[in-house]
């Protein structure tokens, strides 16, 4: 799409005057609301869904009532309980959240074929050129809210934002939470920008706000009125152009980046220091990662390992290889080598492994020194058995005693 960029001397790019065609749907306090939907005895109470319900566990989603008491995402359970002694803490239940995600997706897909899930609780719908658009997006938004209550759960509320591009639709969905339905368009954008602060904008957190401040931009209106040269002084990258266009309602975010990497991480409940102590956890992470990567039909030429230590030091290293890997044991060998290279011998609190430089597994490069066909047949047989009977029916001996460590978390793509 050609963008109508006028020379800067004529004032630059105008705000997009086209009607809003993008709808952003956001399930409010997703995991907590779903838990309150499942268990009506929890409704109206402060609850927090956590990765682990231990005192140091991280709060993933506070309910609307918990948020009102100051409990925030990322807070530790013990801090949450200090703020609210009656806080009800629940462990996350990804299957439940995925089921609701699929229920929402089924309803939304009725309205437009151009539907993109952005996360487990967010969807973007593009109505351009669809018959539904003629009915008006406010009418459709209200209908979606009603259908969700009727078909998925009567306690579920969604905030809906409308705009000429994805960014403004998302921003509009944040204006009134929970249960909002708002639009940002050519007629009201200046008034809404005036009421927001920089960090209200998705993509502008503390560091970006500091960058903008350093270029003399302190408000969203300053941000909107800044020319490209000022923005370049703040970002020093292509981001300046993207923000310039985004704030004017033109689309730059409708990009499918494809799959670039597969990764898994684990916050250790007990800090471990030696590589041999970390090895069983690393094996399990790699097994999960390898299984997912092979199921999606990929192999990888790069392996990356990240370690977050107890004192918040972070160390990471990646390695590119000559030949692509698909077997979990091969990925493990590289990851363990990286682990052994860590110069720090500190207690590890978080272990993350990822595979990058992906390619399709449609062709197999045979080797002179190993029987790759035999290897591939073996790994497919193991994957088929694990798929039929559940993950980790057949596992490497190294994974023994890892028990329920590294449980399913909040992925929504499977």
């Amino acid at each position: 799409m050609g963008l109508p960029i006028r020379p800067a001397r004529l004032g630059g790019l105008d705000f997009n005057s086209a009607p809003s065609t993008v709808m952003h749907v956001d399930l409010n306090s997703c995991f907590a609301t779903i838990e309150q939907q499942a268990n009506p005895l929890l409704r109206g109470k402060p609850i927090a869904v956590t990765a682990y319900d231990s005192p140091n566990g991280c709060i993933l989603a506070p309910s609307v009532q918990a948020k009102e008491l100051g409990i925030k995402v990322g807070m530790r359970v013990k801090d949450g309980r200090l703020l609210c002694p009656g806080l009800i803490v629940l462990s996350s239940d990804p299957d439940k959240y995925r089921a609701v995600h699929l229920g929402l997706k089924k309803i939304l897909s009725i309205y437009t074929p151009d539907l993109a899930p952005k996360s487990i609780d967010e969807f973007v719908l593009n109505f351009a050129g669809t018959p539904a658009f003629t009915r008006g997006l406010f009418t459709i938004g209200q209908e979606i809210k009603n259908r969700i209550k009727e078909k998925v759960g009567d306690y579920l509320t969604v905030s809906i934002g409308l705009g000429p591009n994805r960014f403004l639709a998302k921003t509009a969905s944040n204006l009134h939470k929970p249960d909002g339905l708002d639009e940002i368009n050519k007629d009201n954008f200046l008034r809404i920008y005036e009421s927001l602060i920089l960090t209200d904008l998705t993509g502008i957190a503390r560091q970006n706000a500091i960058r903008l401040n350093s270029a003399g931009i302190y408000t969203v209106l300053d941000f909107f009125n800044a020319d490209l040269r000022t923005l370049r002084a703040a970002f020093h990258s292509i981001s300046d152009y993207y923000w310039f266009v985004r704030l004017r309602g033109w689309e730059v975010d409708d990009v499918d980046w494809g799959v670039k990497s597969f990764s898994h991480s684990y916050a250790l409940p007990k800090f471990l220091t030696k590589p041999e102590e970390l090895a069983p956890i690393l094996t399990k992470l790699v097994e999960k990662l390898g299984f997912r990567m092979r199921r999606e039909g990929f192999q990888a030429k790069g392996v990356h390992l990240g370690l977050l230590f107890r004192d918040h030091e972070f160390w990471h290293q990646g390695l590119r290889l000559d030949q692509p890997l698909f077997l979990s044991q091969d990925i493990y060998r590289v990851a363990y080598r990286l682990l052994s290279h860590s110069p720090y011998h500190l207690p590890v609190r978080n272990l993350a492994v990822s595979c990058f430089d992906l390619s399709g597994r449609d062709c197999l490069q045979l080797g002179l020194f190993e029987d790759k066909i035999k290897k591939e047949s073996l790994v497919s047989a193991i994957d088929n058995i694990n798929d039929r009977w559940g993950n980790f029916v057949i596992t490497p001996a190294m994974m023994a005693n890892t028990g329920n460590a590294i449980q399913d978390r909040i992925s929504f793509g499977r």
Binding site: I34, Q37, A38, N39, P40, L41, L42, K45, D53, P85, G86, L87, I88, V89, L90, D95, K96, R98, A99, V100, G153, N386, D387, R388, W389, G390, V393
Partner: protein
């Protein structure tokens, strides 16, 4: 408070062929009968290829999580909650 149970349980269900719904009506557990007042959420998941149905229901100021194994058609009571802090 949430209590993990994981015990076999008897569940009476109703199948409505017009609405095409299956709804648990009563739970027989621990020598008591619990009449189900509300189904909060019904969802499914797979372990391997086995499909499980989970019904989150309330009865007599308690919340029950019931699991139906579609291979064996056996019901399991997974947890009970009274909706109070743990």
């Amino acid at each position: 408070m949430i209590q993990k149970i994981s015990a076999p349980v008897s569940v009476e269900t109703i199948y409505d062929h017009r609405k095409r719904t299956v709804t648990p009506r009563r739970i027989f557990w621990d020598g008591q009968i619990f009449r189900i007042a509300q189904v909060g959420l019904h969802h499914t998941f797979r372990e391997g290829r086995t499909l499980f149905h989970i019904f989150s229901v309330t009865a007599q100021n308690l919340s029950f999580r019931l699991r139906l194994d579609t291979d064996s058609l056996f019901w399991t009571l997974e947890e009970i909650s009274d909706g109070l802090t743990n």
